[in-house]
């Protein structure tokens, strides 16, 4: 603990998504938790980082792979009151992902650097990483 000024808690729950969709159930489970949190009026923030940024790609079509479409789940988040979707910008850059070209345009994303990610953790009461 440092003697910094106390930080305001803006979120009850911060969900950090760091894995690509479809190759494991982690992305699906993280989004289920986000929807459940929203249903119970929790203030939920999502942070996409590392391979988790692949979850934000547009035109996902997992039907042939017989999986649930996670892009549709992301689009539904706002109906559950989950409106804070943060992305680590360096993770996008490293993967040659361009927001205007590859990323789902329906999502209102906030691009963060390492410093603002630290602040996001500080502003959240509980953090769960998937």
């Amino acid at each position: 603990m440092t003697a910094d000024a106390p930080t305001t808690i803006d979120y009850d729950l911060l969900i950090v998504l760091q894995h690509a969709p479809y190759s494991s159930a982690q992305a699906n489970e993280a989004l289920d938790l986000a929807l459940a949190g929203g249903t119970f009026d929790q203030r939920v923030a999502l942070l996409f980082i590392e391979d988790g940024v692949y979850q934000l790609m547009s035109e996902q079509a997992p039907d042939a792979a017989q999986q649930k479409n996670l892009e549709k789940m992301l689009n539904a988040l706002s109906f559950y009151g989950v409106n804070t979707l943060a992305v680590e910008s360096h993770s996008l850059f490293e993967r040659d992902l361009h927001p205007e070209k590859h990323i789902n345009p329906k999502l209102n994303l906030e691009l963060l650097n390492a410093k603002s990610i630290q602040a996001l953790y500080d502003r959240s009461k509980t953090v769960i990483r998937f």
Binding site: A64, A65, D96
Partner: protein, 95 residues
């Protein structure tokens, strides 16, 4: 002795990719599966792998919403996957 290599991890797994690069030979074939298909987004693959035909499994590419129009990677069906397995002498999985 041509070999079919399959890669099913994302480009974030740098050490795995280095091992693959150090092992694969001209005339071999590389098939990208699952998170391996994210290599289609990067030019890294084309620069590092010359004289190697690269395929990506179609269903995995479409599931993840990856555009492949300007890539040198060919899309493969499950049937193509079986044919590639038969055409090569052996199969090495990178995961």
């Amino acid at each position: 002795m041509p070999t079919l290599h399959t890669l099913n991890r994302s480009p974030a797994n740098i050490q795995l990719f280095e091992q693959l690069i150090n092992t694969i030979r001209p005339g071999d074939t590389l098939l990208l599966l699952e998170d391996g298909v994210y290599y289609c987004l990067q030019n890294k693959l084309n620069r590092k792998i010359q004289d190697i035909q690269v395929y990506a499994l179609k269903d995995d590419v479409h599931a993840r919403g990856i555009p492949i129009e300007q890539s040198d990677v060919l899309l493969a069906s499950y049937e193509d996957f079986v044919n590639l397995t038969c055409e090569n002498d052996k199969l090495v999985n990178w995961y």
